[in-house]
């Protein structure tokens, strides 16, 4: 079963072609990496998939549904969660509130139920709280639910963002440079978490510069350079691909 299909996607900004003819296929339970030098178009690709930009050409499918041109919140509701390259937590909400907000699209209480504070609303509130605490413990943040994001160390902020993305109950999770700026300890912890997410049953796509991390965690890789897809395959294949080596290190002449 395919979770995500990116079909001949091209993205132009005026005269600049940021992505040209990109094709991805992500199957269930897979962990896939998208790598490439700076400016290769990785983040643009993420922004196209998550609906921040509508692709100039081509289509994005989530499962069997074409989602190109949808609004970001509709795509999230359809089952796609994400984190951000530069951590973007809600600074004036507690860790717990950050996670509970992620459940927004899965919650059903209506405005009248809220205004009259019905039993269903209270039950849902309680359910969400429990679920959020569970998610926090998955990413190793138990006991931190009342902390403000800015009071958490960097690695924990990243993990809190993952918990918030998981709260949207995604079928596919996009992680934008999850290990960026982390020390070795934090990266090792993150590695365990990302691997454990597999058992939850969502596929993961991640952009990452930390090659050790990528090679350790990903089953398949896509390589972008100058907006073009130059290779895909297992970490082993990618490591030995001359095109990839050239893109990263330059050619010999």
């Amino acid at each position: 079963m395919k979770v995500l299909t990116v079909n001949h996607v091209t993205q132009r900004f005026g005269g600049l072609t940021a992505l040209s003819d990109i094709n991805l296929e992500i199957r269930e339970h897979e962990i896939v990496g998208v790598i490439g030098p700076n400016g290769a178009g990785k983040s643009t690709l993420f922004n196209v998939i998550t609906g921040m930009y509508a692709p100039t050409e081509g289509d994005v499918y989530l499962g069997e549904t074409c989602i190109s041109g949808w609004k970001p919140y509709e795509i999230t509701a359809a089952g796609l969660g994400r984190t951000f390259q530069n951590i973007r937590l809600f600074p004036r909400m507690t860790a717990l509130e950050n996670v509970i907000l992620g459940m927004h699209c899965r919650r059903q209480t209506t405005l009248p139920q809220i205004i009259f504070s019905t039993r269903r609303k209270k039950e849902e509130e309680e359910r969400c709280r429990k679920e959020a605490l569970r998610l926090l413990s998955i990413v190793g943040l138990e006991g931190k639910e009342l902390a403000m994001p800015s009071s958490l160390p960097y690695g924990e902020q990243r993990r809190l963002e993952i918990a918030r993305a998981l709260a949207t109950q995604p079928r596919l999770l996009l992680l934008d440079e999850p290990a960026a700026g982390m020390n070795e300890n934090e990266t090792a912890q993150l590695l365990e978490i990302v691997k454990s997410l597999k058992s939850i049953g969502c596929a993961i796509v991640l952009i990452e510069h930390d090659m050790k991390f990528v090679m350790n965690v990903c089953e398949r890789l896509y390589v972008l350079n100058h907006g073009e897809q130059i290779a895909d395959g297992t970490p082993e294949e990618i490591r030995n691909n001359p095109l990839v080596i050239e893109a990263y290190l330059g050619s010999e002449e």
């Binding site: 998550t50 999230t76 507690t94 209480t109 205004i115 969400c128």
Partner: protein, 338 residues
């Protein structure tokens, strides 16, 4: 320097105490509010209390948009005015009672809020501020020039006082209780809204609307909803004002009034219900206390605002979350037991 830190420690200690004894404080304030008109018989003080509470209601409504959702609206005086004119015309010309007048004002203003919100709330920051300012001015000009309906600059006089089911009320004490009930209902409404997924969504829009949308919040829908609810509250406050003061004209509902409401919300505390009470009541009473100083009044007021913005730009109770303080204290207690 030392002094200010002592002061802030004192304040935070008090806030923690208040958070742990929320019920006590609410009950105390409520008792005081109910007993107030029986203890005070001075008409001037009563009038001040009624107006103060009306501003509390307006501030609570505006706080939903400005404090919790983080969008500056300068249009609330217009909504207040539309509510007042709606109620005035309906009670005077059609002989409607107070409750139907409140309802009609809420609906009419809600429609205006929706129509303004639809195009405008795609804007944010300064642009929203400017458009709402413009809206306020347009509404004022319509009130001023639409002679057959609003009677222009002469205003509408002889608006009937409150009447519920055919019984009319004329005493200051009854006005006081009507606005007190309205304030309590508004407080309950806002409290429930912000403690739900709706409130969380508003806060997420305030903090980072791009991320909020990426996390599944349909932000335009929520912005419009909050704007409509907030304007409806202003509309009902306007309906109250018309029947209380019995004479309205366009000079009450200018951009200046919008600004006053905003100052109350910001002074008391953005995103805080007790803050709205504090801001509205303090800034209603303060100018009256300074009345003896005549021409220095506005000067002192201005200096106070400048100091306020320098020392505590979020307002006195800005973003003080009492539930959060309480949970924190409870968590600490648990740890101590362990």
């Amino acid at each position: 320097m030392k002094k200010t830190s002592k002061l802030s420690a004192c304040l935070s200690g008090f806030l923690k105490f208040a958070a742990l004894h929320q019920k006590l404080f609410i009950l105390g304030a409520l008792t005081l509010a109910i007993l107030f008109p029986f203890l005070i018989t001075d008409r001037y003080v009563m009038r001040l209390a009624v107006v103060g509470f009306m501003y509390v209601m307006l501030s609570l409504g505006l706080n939903l948009v400005t404090g919790y959702m983080g969008q500056m609206s300068f249009g609330h005086a217009a909504f207040w005015g539309i509510g007042a004119y709606t109620a005035a015309l309906l009670t005077k010309n059609l002989g409607l009672g107070t409750l139907p007048a409140f309802l009609a004002a809420a609906i009419v203003v809600g429609i205006f809020g929706f129509l303004l919100g639809l195009p405008v709330l795609k804007l944010k920051g300064y642009y929203l501020t400017i458009v709402t300012m413009g809206f306020c001015e347009i509404v004022r000009l319509v009130e001023l020039n639409w002679m057959p309906v609003t009677n222009g600059p002469m205003g509408i006089s002889g608006i009937p006082k409150f009447s519920f089911f055919g019984i009319s009320f004329h005493t200051y004490r009854s006005f006081y209780f009507i606005i007190l009930i309205l304030v309590i209902l508004t407080t309950l409404l806002i409290r429930r809204l912000i403690r739900s997924r709706f409130g969380l969504a508003l806060k997420s829009i305030r903090d980072d609307d791009v991320v909020a949308e990426a996390m599944g919040v349909p932000i335009v829908r929520y912005k419009i909803l909050a704007f409509v609810i907030s304007s409806m509250i202003a509309g009902v406050a306007g309906a109250f004002y018309a029947q209380y003061i019995t004479y309205i004209d366009p000079t009450s509902f200018t951009y200046n009034a919008s600004q006053e409401m905003l100052v109350m919300v910001i002074f008391g505390g953005l995103g805080s219900i007790p803050g709205s009470f504090l801001g509205a009541l303090a800034l209603t009473i303060l100018p009256e206390l300074l009345r003896d100083l005549m021409e220095y009044r506005m000067l002192i007021y201005g200096v106070l605002m400048v100091v306020m913005m320098l020392v505590k730009p979020d307002g006195i109770l800005g973003n003080v979350n009492f539930d959060y303080l309480k949970e924190q204290a409870a968590a600490r207690k648990k740890e101590a037991v362990k």
